[in-house]
């Protein structure tokens, strides 16, 4: 029974594309526009939908232009669209893209929406040798004049992601206590999952809790193996109306519920560093879907760091606040376990292809719900939870997906 307004479940993910993550890219450098087009082709092929049927697109920022981004993508790909959207929610982009596509479809604006996030290296500019991604030397912070980050955070060296997440973890330890072995187990269980996924960057490389704790301390209390491995790659997906979804190649995956929330850019200014925005986002998604936490067969939880996954397990309601480490200790989070989390290895062990990392989590939920996840398939998988996290616990979003 639905008690909130929202998605009716009349849109479904019908196609996905996953470029195998690579530490050292093997192919030629391509522009993001070129990557966008190729990812779209692959996702549409997976769905069995012709390019001419596309009537909506959702894109992140791309390197080639800072404005009129959707128009540039549409023109390049030859799409004539009724929904032209760009999202700027960092790691929460993927979930944000899916619900925006689903909402537009339910409004009747469009039937077939492509969402793609390219993240392979791009060519350098022959005029000055510059690469498209050089605007990122300050991480997710802006050093432009007038930016609060430029004036009050960056001068102290507080920028990029490691420091912010480590400070959240340190606060967690002070308030709720800390068990570094349980935190490490989050990474270990995901590595076990990666070892069942041939495309994962750490396939064939199992680790132990002691390995995690023996890895280099990057920013106390987080170790190297609790932090994502950046890789090259990219992901795309196609969202279609329920009517169009009936004539596709695979089991359609219904977008049943969604939520999104953000309150700050820099955690310093959060009302409470440990009450993360995924709480209200997940509550809304579950309520919209008419689902409960116990309905979830697989949880694809954004995991740029172990602390991100821990706080999401708590705030999304899978365990009580402050009891996340007990939960991790008491449950087997592998694909074969009693609470499967990030069955593709998570971004920690599958690899984080830049801004596309979060889409690996949606697409993994799709593979699980289609029952084509191979050796890592979760039995009787019908309902999935997916979260997205941008910046430093800033933008957060949630999806409930169901096999239709």
């Amino acid at each position: 029974m639905k008690s909130v307004r929202g998605l009716r479940g009349d849109a479904a993910i019908v196609g996905v594309a996953d470029w195998k993550p690579e530490r050292k890219p093997t192919g030629p450098r391509q522009f993001m526009l070129e990557q966008w087009a190729e990812l779209a082709r692959l996702a549409l092929q997976d769905a069995g939908i012709e390019a001419g049927e596309v009537d909506g697109l959702v894109t992140p920022r791309i390197g080639e232009t800072s404005n009129f981004v959707p128009a540039t993508v549409a023109e390049y790909c030859g799409f004539e669209v009724n929904l032209a959207e760009m999202v700027d929610l960092g790691g929460a982009n993927s979930v944000g893209m899916v619900w925006r596509a689903a909402a537009a479809i339910e409004l009747g604006l469009c039937e077939v929406v492509v969402c793609a996030i390219p993240a392979r290296p791009t060519p350098s500019d022959p005029r000055d040798g510059a690469f498209l991604d050089e605007g990122w030397i300050f991480g997710a912070s802006s050093n432009r004049y007038g930016s609060p980050q430029a004036e009050f955070d960056i001068p102290y060296g507080n920028l990029a992601q490691n420091a912010g997440y480590s400070m959240i973890a340190q606060r967690y330890a002070a308030v709720h206590g800390y068990d570094e072995r349980a935190m490490a187990k989050l990474a270990v269980d995901q590595r076990t999952n990666a070892c069942a996924h041939p495309d994962a960057i750490f396939h064939g490389k199992p680790i132990t809790v002691d390995d995690v704790l023996a890895s280099k301390m990057i920013a106390d209390p987080l170790h190297m193996l609790e932090i994502v491995m950046p890789v090259a790659g990219g992901h795309a997906l196609v969202v279609a109306s329920a009517a169009r979804a009936k004539r596709t190649k695979h089991r359609p995956i219904q977008v049943a519920g969604c939520g999104e929330r953000l309150t700050i850019k820099t955690p310093t200014y959060a009302r409470d560093l440990l009450e993360t925005p995924v709480g209200p986002a997940a509550d809304r998604a579950f309520e919209m879907a008419g689902a409960t936490r116990s309905d979830i067969d697989v949880a694809c939880i954004y995991d740029c760091y172990t602390i991100t996954a821990l706080l999401t397990l708590e705030d999304a309601g899978f365990c009580k606040k402050g009891q996340g480490l007990d939960f991790v200790r008491d449950h087997d989070l592998t694909f074969a376990g009693d609470f499967p989390v990030n069955t593709h290895g998570g971004q920690l062990s599958y690899g984080q292809a830049g801004g596309a990392g979060g889409m690996s989590q949606i697409n993994e939920a799709v593979h699980q719900l289609r029952h084509n996840a191979g050796a890592r398939q979760v039995a009787n998988c019908e309902t999935a939870f997916v979260s997205g996290t941008g910046g430093v616990m800033s933008e957060q979003s949630a999806l409930i997906l169901r096999g239709a």
Partner: protein, 140 residues
């Protein structure tokens, strides 16, 4: 890519200038909302509590407690390599607002969440000429 780039320093805006002037004079000045009485940091044109544009500057003690910290063993960006291990901190002022800073004059093992802190006005070459760092309070 960042080799040779100068370490980024703050540059005041018309809105924030009294804060930096205060630091140069050895005082911490922050804004308070005349409508909802909320304290405001960082400096803004409008109160983030109620959007009022009636904000006044007040001089405060600048003292606070350590809300959280990390010790970064690798530079957060190459330009900060000379500060490694970086003692990054968030301090909650007595007024309840929080500031991003770094800790000085303290041994690593003595850093504890909740410890009382006092401001250190550190001169810089360039930028606004001063940064607001923190050290353990001489008297609790």
């Amino acid at each position: 890519m960042t080799d040779g780039m100068a370490k980024p320093l703050p540059h005041a805006t018309d809105t924030s200038r009294p804060f930096w002037e205060g630091l140069r004079e050895g005082e911490v000045r922050i804004q308070r909302c005349l409508d909802c009485a909320g304290w405001v940091f960082y400096p803004r044109s409008n109160c983030p509590g109620c959007l009022s544009n009636a904000l006044e500057w007040q001089t405060v003690s600048g003292r606070g407690v350590l809300h959280t910290f990390t010790i970064s063993r690798i530079p957060t960006v190459a330009m900060f390599a000379d500060e490694v291990p970086q003692r990054l901190a968030v301090v909650e002022l007595s007024e309840g607002v929080r500031v991003t800073t770094t800790l000085v004059d303290v041994a690593e093992e003595d850093i504890k969440v909740g410890m009382p802190l006092e401001p250190v006005f550190e001169s810089t070459e360039g930028g606004e000429g001063v940064l607001l760092r923190y050290r353990p309070a001489a008297t609790p």
